[in-house]
């Protein structure tokens, strides 16, 4: 490529240089080239690139934290980053975006966080084009769940479908996401600045390897049914001894339920499989027995798994949710080898989360749970929720493993702030934690609890504890609603309305509102009632009330933990 003349100069230089000289020359030339590229760019486009939008969809705060981090790094590299939460993002801006990066987590059955739902639905509409968009997606998830990072994947593929140009590939992150997220940031920043050379990332303190999910072992101290005789419900208060667990009021306990021994044994019998045989499952050697007992979801197979089963045994199976042992009975496998194929299509048991009802300050060395034994009917048969059944059966001194799922949003405010807690049924769990914590730490803020359930005489969870707190004034106000004690149904939202004037006063004095419990219909009804209280007692019209509520959300004064 060089002219003969230049080539001669180079050869002479090389011949007269030591190894160190050559290394130095190499670097020197590289630097010169990089510098020239920069110059070209500067001369070329004055307002290049450097304005990007970072949008995050967060459920428990992790995506938000990463997005903040990313924005800070971008700024350090001279890139102007606009940070926005997906629930506040103005959807029509999308068509005008040039650089758009999303940090989004995946919930439950592969869904986006509630805050990202509006955005997610919008981009699935397909009615528009995003031809000038350059994007990248960082997806957070948990490989313990089958639809790992699905929300992120969907966003990534949809943005492409709409005509966007993917400039960095989708990065899926598991629970231990710090390193992968960091690498993704670097890649994005490099792509934007078009530098081959190292992008300056402020050296974060030497690789603090996040331990990801720390697994604790707990021992059952006591397990009682809080509901009285004659109740339609069975809610267990479980006290667990566990040392040095790192949690705060508002966090949840997560555990992966094991499958019932009887069912596993039945399956082994039906398939004639050698349960001691070891298979490689996700990089570890594990016996078939342990796979079936501890790792795989076998009791309620989702339809997508039933479909795969049908294609393995080459038979038609009607769409239905069914247990593996029933499936094996009705549509048996031909031999153990075929069953091994089946094992490969089974998904991992998803962890279940339970809001913790104890407080680290008040209940040192212990964790308490409030678990409703879940029942439902499938084909006229009464079935129990796998995990809630397991927990309700735990005997004193039994051990089990769990981890803590932190909820960075659902937290107590400063000690002098007032709080209103709305927690019917098991929704009361985190509020017991809040009250116990506020009691133990001497917080001065006022506390108002709304609780509801079916019958006063048999379902008033933690009644005596609440009465004590009323007496000692830790609990300022307790409003209860028992839906089936009279002809007409009375729920927590009816009580909220009844005390509407005072409720609004509390809001005006800066109170924080927390809602915990069933997502539908309870949380929906509660929110509607909130709006109507704001309207009526705040003398506002519908839009003003909605704005007031939005402000509460934005300032972190309206928080939900619903399921």
């Amino acid at each position: 490529m060089l002219t003969a003349h230049k080539l001669k100069i180079i050869h002479d230089l090389i011949a007269s240089s030591s190894k160190e000289d050559l290394i130095w020359l190499n670097g020197y030339l590289a630097g010169i080239i990089a510098h020239q590229e920069n110059k070209d760019e500067d001369v070329g486009e004055k307002n290049s690139s450097s304005k990007i939008t970072i949008a995050y969809g967060t459920e428990t705060g992790n995506s938000k934290r990463l997005a903040l981090d990313f924005a800070a790094k971008a700024k350090k590299n001279g890139i102007n980053a606009k940070l926005v939460s997906l629930d506040q993002y103005r959807l029509k801006d999308l068509a005008k975006e040039e650089y758009f990066f999303t940090v989004i987590s995946t919930q439950g059955e592969g869904e986006p966080p509630a805050a990202a739902k509006k955005f997610y639905d919008h981009i699935h509409q397909n009615g528009f084009k995003l031809n000038q968009l350059k994007y990248g997606v960082l997806a957070l998830g948990d490989t313990a769940y089958p639809l790992f990072c699905k929300a992120g994947e969907d966003v990534d593929s949809q943005l492409q479908q709409l005509g966007g140009e993917r400039i960095v590939s989708l990065q899926r992150c598991d629970v231990d996401y710090e390193d992968e997220a960091s690498n993704w940031f670097m890649e994005v920043l490099q792509k934007i600045n078009n530098k081959e050379s190292k992008v300056e990332i402020a050296k974060s303190p030497p690789a603090k390897k996040t331990t990801g999910k720390k697994i604790y072992t707990g021992t059952i101290l006591s397990n009682i049914n809080l509901n009285d005789r004659g109740s339609n419900k069975q809610t267990h208060h479980i006290e667990i001894a566990a040392a040095d667990v790192d949690y705060q009021p508002g966090d949840s306990l997560g555990l992966v339920p094991e499958n019932p021994l009887m069912i596993v044994e039945e399956i082994i019998k039906l398939t004639n499989i050698d349960h001691t045989k070891s298979l490689t499952h996700r990089n570890e050697e594990i016996s078939i027995f342990n796979l079936l007992k501890k790792k795989l979801n076998i009791v309620y197979l989702p339809e997508r798994v039933v479909k795969k089963y049908a294609s393995i045994i080459k038979q038609e199976i009607p769409e239905t949710k069914i247990g593996l042992h029933d499936l094996l009975k009705i549509y048996p496998v031909t031999d153990p080898e075929q069953f091994e194929e089946v094992i490969n299509i089974l998904e991992l048991t998803a962890p279940r989360l339970y809001s913790i009802s104890s407080s680290p300050e008040a209940h040192n060395g212990e964790i308490h749970l409030t678990v409703a034994k879940d029942f439902f009917t499938v084909n006229e048969e009464k079935k129990y929720g796998l995990c809630s059944n397991l927990l309700s059966e735990f005997k004193t001194d039994e051990n089990f493993e769990f981890y803590i799922h932190k909820n960075t949003q659902f937290k107590l405010p400063a000690a002098d702030k007032d709080i209103i807690m709305i927690g019917p049924g098991t929704g009361i769990a985190p509020f017991r934690s809040f009250l116990a914590e506020r009691d133990a730490t001497g917080a001065t803020g006022k506390n108002w609890l709304f609780f509801g359930d079916q019958h006063f005489a048999s379902d008033f969870l933690y009644q005596t504890e609440l009465q004590n707190w009323l007496q000692t004034n830790v609990l300022t106000k307790l409003s209860v609603a028992f839906s089936r004690d009279q002809k007409e149904k009375i729920y927590v939202q009816n009580k909220m309305k009844k005390h509407g004037a005072e409720f609004f006063e509390w809001l005006q004095s800066g109170a924080y509102i927390y809602v915990c419990g069933a997502k539908e219909p309870m949380a929906v009804d509660v929110e509607e009632t909130l709006l109507s209280i704001i309207k009526e007692f705040g003398n506002k019209n519908i839009n003003e009330a909605a704005t007031y509520l939005d402000e509460l959300k934005e300032t972190g004064r309206y928080l939900k933990d619903v399921y």
Partner: protein, 96 residues
């Protein structure tokens, strides 16, 4: 007539009770407990009623963090032991 300072506790309660009303009505409206206050319990007896709880259930209820299972008993004065059908039905509704 006894001197004021010779009154027993219950007499003091009666005196302060506004014709034996006390805070019985308010107490019945308290949704957090099925009981009424101590003083009201004493006044209630003058109305021929009595607050009680299911003693056999006490221990279990306490374990379940539930208060005692309160109920009220009403003493009926039945001259000759007669009750009209209407009175019977009324009593049934009260008991429910």
């Amino acid at each position: 007539m006894s001197e004021k300072n010779n009154l027993s506790a219950i007499e003091k309660v009666k005196q302060a009770s506004d014709g034996l009303r006390g805070t019985i009505n308010e107490g019945l409206l308290d949704e957090v407990t099925g009981a009424i206050s101590e003083d009201d319990q004493a006044l209630l007896k003058f109305h021929g009623m009595y607050q009680q709880d299911d003693r056999d259930r006490r221990e279990e209820r306490a374990e379940k963090k539930l208060e005692r299972l309160y109920s009220f008993m009403i003493r009926l004065r039945l001259p000759g032991g007669f009750l009209t059908p209407e009175q019977w039905i009324a009593t049934h509704h009260i008991a429910r």
